[in-house]
């Protein structure tokens, strides 16, 4: 069995487990609708710039909540099985992919719910979607890493957000810039260099995560 097949079977297992209860999707839907509704009651109407910043703030906190449990739901017997049968890098890649799917779901849900309450200001959908995808990928790598680290330690939700929030800032800053560009809010001809930087940061963080994860999951 090649490692790609193993990664995908791990991913399939995670998805089956998660969607069997509908707890995950339901809680995220509720979270997104509630927060957007609070924003709606607070603002009533949103300028494109405010729309953009609210979208990313809601997105980042929803994704913190969602990815927090990606390692904590493993029982000790389960993790012993993982430890003895699986390769750590395959394991973390499957987790990253799973979190990526989850974050894309969150981004889509947030976008749809926000578009229902406020009309959306996006002009260039291709640019917006690619920016959101890159940001989701980066945040998913970061959250998988810090979730693994925080589960090892105190398994404390605060620790994870303390660890990952400062690390997500560069990714979010560039993603915000890209999505502002997609709303025609700024005229920037250097958007391709932003993509390069974002891709570089993501690759760097992916490499470090693969390198460090074996040390984190031994306990």
């Amino acid at each position: 069995m090649s490692s790609v097949v193993r990664v995908f079977s791990l991913l399939k297992k995670d998805i089956t487990l998660e969607f069997r209860s509908l707890y995950a999707v339901g809680s995220i839907l509720l979270y997104v609708v509630t927060t957007v509704f609070i924003v709606y009651k607070a603002f009533n109407t949103l300028e494109p710039r405010t729309w953009n910043s609210m979208f990313w703030v809601l997105f980042i906190f929803a994704s913190m909540n969602a990815t927090l449990r990606s390692f904590s739901k493993m029982s000790s017997g389960n993790s012993f099985f993982n430890y003895s049968y699986l390769d750590p890098s395959e394991f973390i890649i499957s987790k990253i992919l799973f979190n990526l799917i989850f974050l894309l779901l969150i981004a889509t849900l947030t976008f749809i719910v926000m578009s229902v309450f406020f009309s959306h200001p996006v002009h260039d959908f291709k640019l917006f979607c690619s920016g959101a995808f890159m940001a989701s990928l980066g945040v998913s790598i970061l959250c998988s890493f810090s979730s693994a680290a925080s589960t090892q330690g105190a398994s404390n939700a605060t620790i994870m957000s303390v660890m990952s929030l400062p690390l997500t800032i560069p990714i979010l800053l560039i993603a915000i810039k890209i999505s502002l560009q997609s709303m025609n809010q700024m005229n920037d001809s250097t958007i391709s260099s932003d993509y390069m930087i974002l891709g570089g940061i993501i690759l760097l963080m992916f490499g470090v995560t693969i390198l460090l994860f074996p040390y984190l999951w031994k306990s």
Partner: protein, 352 residues
């Protein structure tokens, strides 16, 4: 006392004493502080009040020559220079012909044998007429090739730069402390890698003590930068990409301290915080070295948009004699502080 073990502390004290004394006592080169008005009009009599800094106009040997430099070779000599006192001059330029259209600014040069030549760049040239100025249509000094009399005052003095003035001394503290901070962060990274390889709890404590001094240096770096910004830009904080990224880097390292305090088990704490430290260091590289250098990033901070920075002619040799020792001294002091912190933490660990 065993000198072999403590040499770096002695060196730190000596070097930092030298840096403080030289950095604060060596005078600035003579320069031109202000000129009122900051504009020269063509076809008019221009009376300029020049205020010098560290200059000796009354005791200068020979004439004081004031030139308006138009390009790299040509200039106009002032018609009359009156010395009011050591730091004040009254200069008259009688200009009859209009300036070339492609020359919006020139450089004002004040020269005497004792002080050397002082420059004031970006001096505005105008062809527009106003009612206030005395119009002049007589014969003025014509634009000629400038004589090769100009030199800067010899001796060990820091350069006089417009807007920075005396605050240029902050280079030895603000810039040097960021460099020392980066060195300490690297040492901490090395200890974290060693910790992941060897699982020795002492390397973990070493890494954490170096990180705490890294954070201390970072905070001092931000504080000195903020004070400098107040005098150079007029505000303590601007929405500047370098400032914001430096803050994010400090936040990432503060998260490291919080992470450590949250984990009780010693082995787990060592492993998790070592992994996080490596991650934080690598995340810091794009923050500090890549994002601020992106094209189209507006920044007042040196190194962006034509602002002076390290390297090239901006770092004068006179500054180098203090700046490089300052980096070394601050690094040695940082190692000393980290070792003290290490001893306290390892004692606390023994008690537990």
């Amino acid at each position: 006392m065993d000198l072999k073990k403590h040499w770096y502390k002695v060196a730190a004290v000596l070097i930092l004493t030298y840096v403080l004394l030289a950095g604060l006592l060596v005078p600035l080169k003579p320069g031109v502080l202000t000129v009122e008005p900051y504009i020269i009009r063509s076809e008019a009599i221009n009376k300029l009040a020049v205020e010098g800094y560290n200059s000796h106009y009354t005791s200068a040997n020979g004439d004081i020559a004031v030139w308006l430099k138009l390009d790299s070779i040509q200039g106009i000599k002032a018609n009359k220079v009156t010395v009011l006192d050591d730091t004040h001059l009254e200069v008259v330029f009688n200009i009859s012909q209009p300036f070339p259209e492609n020359r919006p600014t020139g450089t004002l040069m004040v020269h005497n044998e004792k002080d050397g030549t002082s420059l004031l760049p970006n001096f505005k040239l105008s062809n527009a007429k106003t009612d206030k100025t005395e119009s002049f249509s007589g014969i003025s000094n014509s634009v000629i090739n400038m004589p090769a009399i100009f030199f800067t005052k010899p001796g060990w003095q820091f350069p006089f730069r417009p807007f920075l003035h005396e605050t240029i001394r902050n280079t030895f503290f603000h810039v040097a402390i960021w460099m020392a901070m980066f060195f300490l962060a690297t040492v901490s990274l090395v200890y974290s890698i060693l910790e992941l390889r060897s699982h020795n709890y002492l390397t973990d404590i070493k890494a954490s003590s170096f990180t705490s001094i890294t954070i201390l240096y970072g905070l001092i770096g931000i504080a000195t930068g903020s004070l400098w910004a107040k005098t150079a830009w007029g505000v303590f904080w601007t929405a500047d990409v370098k400032l914001n990224m430096a803050t994010v880097a400090i936040l990432i390292y503060l998260a490291y301290i919080i992470l450590r305090s949250a984990i009780q088990d010693q082995d787990q704490r060592a492993r998790v915080s070592a992994a996080y430290n490596i991650f934080a260091y690598i995340a810091m590289i794009p923050l500090i070295f890549v994002i601020p250098r992106l094209p189209n990033t507006d920044s007042l901070h040196p190194g962006n948009g034509g602002n002076p920075a390290l390297g090239g002619e901006d770092l004068d040799n006179a500054l180098r004699y203090v700046f490089y020792p300052s980096i070394i001294g601050l690094i040695l002091l940082g190692i000393w502080l980290s070792n003290l912190r290490f001893r306290v933490e390892s004692l606390l660990n023994k008690e537990r």
